[in-house]
């Protein structure tokens, strides 16, 4: 099993004001969730550089799980959920919806590509 590589995780709501615990977030990537896709479904990151994923659902509740980083959160409609990571290892890491959302749920996934 791959070593867990996350260094920081924060989750908050943009509606209520995101709680910023990670001070040095260098970039943000918005990811939209909608049955049965993440857009974009491939996200690039660099080893050692903090990145915030801003997750929003366009239809219903979805899940966001990235086991290699020990991350999971709900993605709620019309709300931003923010996840900050600092990859420590290069490679490709799968993320997927872990709240069953219908026929096509099993294909609702994406990849975080971490470059050295």
């Amino acid at each position: 099993m791959k070593r867990r590589v996350f260094a920081a995780l924060l989750i908050g709501s943009a509606v209520g004001g995101s709680l910023r615990l990670a001070a040095e977030t260098s970039n943000e990537v918005k990811i939209l969730a909608m049955k049965f896709d993440f857009t974009p479904d491939t996200v690039k990151a660099k080893v050692g550089q903090p990145m915030t994923l801003v997750l929003t659902s366009m239809d219903r509740i979805h899940g966001f799980k990235m086991p290699d980083f020990g991350i999971r959160t709900d993605i709620l409609p019309d709300q931003e959920t923010r996840v900050t990571i600092t990859p420590q290892k290069a490679g490709s890491f799968t993320f997927f919806c872990d709240i069953f959302c219908g026929d096509g749920h099993e294909e609702m996934n994406g990849t975080l590509v971490v470059e050295a």
């Binding site: 099993m1 899940g63 799968t94 997927f96 872990d98 069953f100 959302c101 219908g102 026929d103 294909e107």
Partner: protein, 290 residues
Amino acid sequence: MLQPDRRDFLKLAGVAGVTFTAGLFPGQRASAQAAGNFHFVQFSDTHWGFSGPPNPDAEHTLEKAVATVNGLAQQPDFIVFTGDLTHTTDDPKVRRERMKRFREIVSALRVKDVRFLPGEHDASLDKGEAYKEFFGATHYTFDHKGVHFITLDNVSDPAAKLGDEQLAWFAADLKQRKPDDRIVVLTHRPLFDLQPSWDWTTADGAKAIELMMPYKNIVVFYGHIHQENHHMTGHIAHHAAKSLIFPLPAPGSQPKRAPLPYDAAMSGLGTRDVTMADKVTLVELPVAKG
């Protein structure tokens, strides 16, 4: 009485596939014999209502599996379906139509003692509402010839959790058992982390396994992953069954968990005969062609 060698018996019947024997109940030889050996058949992941290239024969596969089991010269004591009886749909009316038709098809089984449990395709979109209308409770227990069976529902919560309430029920039931009682747990998803990157887990499955650890003679049968798989968590064996719709790749063997291409021989599909004695013997039953 069970015949001395069930594998030979099934070969004679012309239906035997690969046989797997595990050292279940090693300390229970005397009591197993006293209680009476028996066998049951496991169906899983029939996905009635599915259509698509992974199985162009989807409308007939379940009926063929029913015919295969009805053709066993020695009928099982009972039959279990470990979830995903139907393929999911967003339409509650269609969901119920699929469950109705599924129930009609399996009513042709010669054995009338049939036990069901839900998969996420049956129960996750409506928290088991339609499933309960057709098949009853989503978690329950029953006893058969000295073996205690516990079914667990890890799908009615769309986040794939058993939940604290069900875990408390599970713990209370187990507390009534002796450490060397023979216990079988039936569920849909793997209770352990089989392949987390493919979501082949149960979110709080580790809690269930922890509750099971004090019991020496306990085994788990499940579905969900559409293939035969055998795994140990400590002394507890977990046996996954093939599906009756399409096989999935071995855990982690490819980047995505997409269905394997259709195989006209349907070699990746089937049911399973389980003999319970001082050991458990699993015989995979292929789907009859034609």
